[in-house]
C-alpha cells in the first residue's frame, strides 16, 4: 500500500503552503477562509518510496455538518491514509487545538505541526513544543512555512513516528454517561457516540436513542448536548494552550485594519480598490492583447491562410488557430492580470474585510459578504467564478450567486465593450454599459432574494491578520487559476470554434441569419449580420466583436453602423446568454434546470434591454 499523508487544519494556517513545499506542485493557497474547496493531492518522496500528500480543505470543525467537513471526516477515517498531519497556527493555537482534539478522537496515527512560529515570535508569542507533544501524546514539530523552516522534518516524522493521540477531552459526566450507554446498546465507539449525540449518524436507531439521551441532557443543563460537547472541547483546548503558550504581545488589531473595516473610509476604499483593479486590467490587458494577437497572426494564422489544401481542412485549421489566438489573447493579458491582482488582495487578507463590508449590500440580494469573492472573480472569467460558489453555505445562495455571476461582465465582454463602444462611441458610453449591467445585477438580486426558496443564514467570517502577500505564492495561485481556466475553457473554445467553422462552411449560418433577421432588424434595429455575431458570442463572448468586424467587412465599424446600433449590439452581447463554457459549468455546479433558467433569463433580459435602447434612442 502506498504511503499517504493528509494535511488537516483550520483555513489560513498555511496548510497549502506546506503542501506546496512538500510536493513542489503548485497549489491554491488562500488567506480567505475556505479557499481550497477541492481535495488537492501531490506526490512526494521519502527514502525512495513515493508518498501521496493530500491537502484537505480548511475546516473549523469536523462536526458542523458542512459538505467540506464531511469530506475531511471521510479522509481522516480512511484506512488508506497512513498518517494525518494536523497543522496549527501558532498565533491562534487555542482555537486550532479545538479541531485537533476532534481529529484525535478518530484514533488515527497523527503528528502535529505548529506553523507560523515566525509570525508568532514577532507578536511575542512562544509555544512550548515539547510540552505540547507530551500533552497530546503525538510528535509535534515547529515550522515557519513562509520561510521554509522545519518543513523537511514533516515527512520523516509523519511516516516513522505518527501515532494515535493520547489526549482525551474530559466531557461533562452526563455526556460521558450517554456515551457509555450508547456503547452498551449499540456497541459504537466514543467518537461515533459523541457525533450521534450531536445528531450526526447514519443509523436511524442510534440517532433516535442518542436524540432521547440528548433531550435528557438538555433538560438538565439548559444547553444541548452539542453545545456542551463543543464547550468542553474549547475548555480543554484552553487548558492545553494555557500550559504551552507564553504571550507577551497585545494580540490583534492594527491601525490599518481599523480603517479598512469601518464604513468610512472602508467602503470608498473597497470601491476604489475594485474599480482601480478593473482599470489596471483594462489598460494592461489592452496593450498585451495587441502583441499576442499580432504574434498569432504572424506565426499561425498567416501561414494557415497561405496553405494550399482542401478548403474544409483549411476552415478547420483556421478555426483552431482563431480559437487559440483569442483564448490566449484573452487568457493571459486580461484574466491572468486580473488573477494576479486578486491573489494579492486575497493573500493580504483584504478580501475578508471586503466581504465584511459588503455584507449588508449582499444581504439585500439574498447573499452574504462571502459571495463577493466569486462575484469579483467573475470579472475575470465567469467559469471559475461559478465554481467558486461551492463555498457558499446554502443552495439558495448558490442559486442566486450563479444568476448574478453570469451577468458580471467578464474579460471577454470587456473586450467587446472596449472594442466596440469605447473605440467607436465614447469612453463614458462604455462605462455606462458597466453601470447598466451592475444596476441590473442589483435588481436581479433583489428580486431573486424574494422569490428563491430556502433560509437565509447570517455571516460568520474569520478575519485573518493582514499580511504582506508573498510574490511566489501570488504567482502560484494565479497560475493555478489560469491553468484551471485553460483546462476547462480551452477545449470548449476549440470545439465550438471548429463547429462554428463547419457550420459556416456548410451554409447553416446563412440560414440562421435569414431566420433571425426579423429579431435583429425589427426588435433591436441592427443589421441582419449582427444576429450571426451575437450567435458567435454564445460560443465565446469576444467573438461577437470579431465576427461583427468580419461580417461588416470593415474594422471601422462606425462607417457601417450608427452609434446607437453599436451601443445596442454591445449591451445585448454583454447581457445575452452566458458563453457555452459558463453554461457547461453552471450545469455541473447547480443543475440543468437552474442553468436553463439562467440562460433563458439572460436571453430575455438582453433582448429586452436591447429593444429598450433601440426604441428610446434609435
Amino acid at each position: 500500500m502506498p504511503l499517504t499523508i493528509a494535511l488537516v487544519g483550520n483555513p489560513g494556517v498555511g496548510k497549502s503552503l506546506i503542501f506546496n513545499h512538500l510536493t513542489g506542485v503548485g497549489v491554491e493557497i488562500g488567506n480567505y477562509p475556505g479557499s481550497s474547496v477541492d481535495l488537492l493531492s501531490g506526490r512526494s518522496c521519502f527514502q525512495r518510496e513515493p508518498v501521496e500528500v493530500l491537502d484537505l480543505p480548511g475546516v473549523y470543525s469536523l462536526e458542523g455538518g458542512a459538505e467540506t467537513e464531511a469530506l475531511v471526516c471521510r479522509v481522516i477515517d480512511d484506512e488508506a491514509v497512513t498518517a494525518l498531519v494536523a497543522v496549527l497556527d501558532a498565533t491562534r493555537l487555542e482555537r486550532n487545538l479545538y479541531l485537533l482534539l476532534q481529529v484525535a478522537e478518530y484514533g488515527r496515527p497523527m503528528v502535529a505541526v505548529v506553523n507560523m512560529v515566525d509570525e508568532a515570535a514577532r507578536r511575542g508569542i512562544a509555544v512550548d513544543i515539547d510540552r505540547l507533544s507530551g500533552l497530546l501524546g503525538i510528535p509535534v514539530l515547529a515550522t515557519a512555512a513562509a520561510l521554509g523552516q522545519g518543513i523537511d522534518r514533516i515527512l520523516p516524522t509523519a511516516v516513522l513516528e505518527a501515532r494515535p493521540a493520547t489526549v482525551e477531552v474530559p466531557y461533562d459526566h452526563h455526556v460521558e454517561a450517554a456515551v457509555r450507554s450508547l456503547d452498551r446498546t449499540f456497541g459504537v465507539d466514543r467518537r461515533t457516540a459523541l457525533q450521534a449525540l450531536q445528531g450526526l449518524a447514519d443509523d436511524p436507531d442510534l440517532l433516535e436513542t442518542a436524540g432521547e439521551l440528548g433531550d435528557e441532557i438538555e433538560r438538565r443543563h439548559r444547553m444541548s448536548a452539542g453545545q456542551i460537547i463543543t464547550t468542553n472541547r474549547h475548555n480543554h483546548a484552553g487548558v492545553i494552550a494555557d500550559q504551552v503558550v507564553r504571550s507577551a504581545g497585545s494580540g490583534v488589531g492594527a491601525a490599518l485594519d481599523r480603517l479598512l473595516t469601518r464604513t468610512l473610509p472602508g467602503v470608498p476604499i473597497l470601491v476604489g480598490v475594485l474599480v482601480s483593479m478593473l482599470l489596471v486590467v483594462f489598460l494592461i490587458g489592452g496593450v498585451l492583447e495587441e502583441y499576442i494577437v499580432e504574434a498569432f497572426n504572424f506565426a499561425l494564422l498567416g501561414p494557415i491562410g497561405a496553405l494550399d489544401i482542401h478548403p474544409l481542412a483549411k476552415e478547420v485549421l483556421q478555426a483552431i488557430g482563431l480559437a487559440l489566438q483569442s483564448g490566449f489573447g484573452i487568457a493571459f493579458p486580461y484574466i491572468f492580470t486580473f488573477y494576479l491582482l486578486l491573489a494579492i488582495l486575497e493573500d493580504s487578507g483584504y478580501m475578508s474585510r471586503a466581504a465584511f463590508l459588503a455584507d449588508r449590500a449582499m444581504h439585500r440580494m439574498g447573499l452574504h459578504g462571502e459571495a463577493i469573492i466569486p462575484l469579483v472573480l467573475g470579472f475575470g472569467c465567469n467559469v471559475p467564478a461559478v465554481m467558486g460558489i461551492r463555498l457558499l453555505a446554502t443552495r439558495r445562495e448558490r442559486i442566486i450567486a450563479s444568476f448574478l455571476i453570469t451577468m458580471v461582465p467578464c474579460s471577454a465582454r470587456t473586450v467587446v465593450i472596449s472594442g466596440i463602444v469605447a473605440s467607436f462611441v465614447s469612453l463614458p458610453a462604455a462605462f455606462s454599459i458597466y453601470a447598466v449591467v451592475l444596476v441590473l445585477i442589483g435588481l436581479t438580486g433583489l428580486v431573486l432574494s424574494r422569490i428563491t426558496p430556502g433560509p437565509q443564514l447570517g455571516m460568520v467570517l474569520e478575519m485573518p491578520a493582514l499580511r504582506r502577500p508573498m510574490p511566489k505564492m501570488v504567482l502560484v495561485k494565479s497560475w493555478l487559476r489560469i491553468k484551471e481556466f485553460l483546462y476547462i475553457a480551452m477545449p470548449l473554445l476549440l470545439a465550438s470554434s471548429v463547429v462554428l467553422g463547419l457550420l459556416g462552411y456548410y451554409g447553416v449560418i446563412a440560414a440562421f441569419q435569414a431566420a433571425f433577421a426579423p429579431v435583429s432588424e425589427g426588435l433591436l434595429g441592427l443589421p441582419d449580420y449582427a444576429s450571426t455575431a451575437l450567435l458567435f458570442g454564445i460560443l465565446r463572448k469576444e467573438m461577437a466583436f470579431e465576427t461583427l468586424v468580419v461580417l461588416a467587412g470593415t474594422a471601422s465599424l462606425d462607417t457601417v453602423m450608427t452609434g446607437v446600433q453599436l451601443y445596442t449590439f454591445a449591451i445585448v452581447s454583454t447581457l445575452f446568454v452566458p458563453c457555452i463554457s459558463t453554461i457547461a459549468v453552471l450545469r455541473r455546479e447547480i443543475g440543468t434546470r437552474i442553468a436553463a433558467l439562467i440562460t433563458i433569463y439572460t436571453v430575455a433580459l438582453g433582448l429586452a434591454i436591447g429593444f429598450f435602447v433601440h426604441v428610446m434612442a434609435g
Binding site: 473549523y60 470543525s61 462536526e63 458542523g64 455538518g65 498565533t91 491562534r92 487555542e94 482555537r95 479545538y98 433516535e208 432521547e212 438538555e218 433538560r219 443543563h221 439548559r222 444547553m223 444541548s224 452539542g226 453545545q227 463543543t230 464547550t231 474549547h234 475548555n235 484552553g238 494580540g251 490583534v252 488589531g253 481599523r258 473595516t261 469601518r262 464604513t263 475578508s352 466581504a355 465584511f356 463590508l357 455584507d359 449588508r360 444581504h363 452574504h368 459578504g369 453555505a393 433560509p455 437565509q456 443564514l457 447570517g458 455571516m459 460568520v460 467570517l461 474569520e462 478575519m463
Partner: protein, 209 residues
C-alpha cells in the same frame, strides 16, 4: 396478538412513558378515565403485548409498547409545537395535539418536524433556545471595546460555526468594531471574527466585571 391500538390505549402508553411512576388512580385522573375503564384499557394493552405487569402487578411498557408510546409522544410534541408556533396557548396546543396525535400519519409528522427544525422556531423542541432577558443583552447592544461574557447562543442559523469558532457560553469576547450596518467584529480566543447583525443578535452576553 398485536392489533391496532385504540386511542385510549395509545394515551395510556404515552402517559406511562412520560411518567412511569404514576399509580393507577393518578393515571386514571390524568387520562380522564374511570378506574374501571382504565382497567379495561390496561387489560387490552397487556393482551396486545404492549404492556406487561411487573412483579408487583404494576404496568410496564414492553419493547413494542415503548416503541409505540415513543411514536405517539413524538407526534404529540411535534403537533403541539406547531400549534404553539401558530399562536395557540400551550394548554390549547396540548389538547389539540392530544386529539390529532392518534390519526396523523408518520409522514406528515416527519415533514412537519422538518419544517419546524429550522431552529429559532419553537422553544418547546429546544428549551435552551434561550437568549432572553435573563441571559443579558445580545452582542448587538454592546459598544466597541466592551469586554463581555457569553451567556447563551441561540440555536439558529450558523450557530454551529459560531460555536466552532469559540463563541460558547462562558467565553469572554471583546467587541472590536461596530459598523453602521450593525455588523460587528469580535475578538474571541485571539482571533477576529466578523458577524452579520442576524448572527450577532443570537449571541447573548453580560458585561465582564
Amino acid at each position: 396478538m398485536t392489533g391496532t391500538a385504540t386511542e385510549r390505549e395509545e394515551d395510556l402508553l404515552e402517559a406511562i412513558l412520560e411518567s412511569p411512576d404514576l399509580d393507577r388512580a393518578a393515571l386514571a385522573t390524568r387520562l380522564g378515565l374511570e378506574p374501571a375503564d382504565l382497567a379495561d384499557v390496561e387489560m387490552a394493552a397487556v393482551a396486545s403485548g404492549r404492556l406487561a405487569r411487573d412483579g408487583s402487578g404494576f404496568p410496564r411498557l414492553t419493547q413494542e409498547g415503548h416503541r409505540l408510546a415513543r411514536r405517539i409522544h413524538r407526534r404529540h410534541r411535534t403537533l403541539a409545537c406547531f400549534f404553539e408556533q401558530l399562536g395557540m396557548a400551550r394548554d390549547a396546543a396540548d389538547r389539540e395535539a392530544c386529539t390529532l396525535e392518534h390519526g396523523v400519519s408518520d409522514e406528515a409528522i416527519a415533514r412537519l418536524a422538518d419544517h419546524l427544525r429550522c431552529p429559532g422556531r419553537c422553544e418547546r423542541e429546544s428549551p435552551c433556545e434561550g437568549g432572553d432577558e435573563s441571559d443579558g443583552l445580545s452582542l448587538l447592544d454592546y459598544g466597541e471595546g466592551d469586554r463581555v461574557n457569553i451567556t447563551a447562543v441561540r440555536r439558529c442559523g450558523r450557530y454551529r460555526r459560531l460555536m466552532d469558532m469559540g463563541v460558547v457560553p462562558g467565553e469572554t469576547v471583546i467587541v472590536r468594531r461596530r459598523l453602521s450596518n450593525r455588523a460587528i467584529v469580535i475578538e474571541v480566543k485571539g482571533c477576529e471574527i466578523g458577524l452579520s447583525p442576524e448572527c450577532a443578535a443570537t449571541v447573548f452576553a453580560t458585561p465582564c466585571p
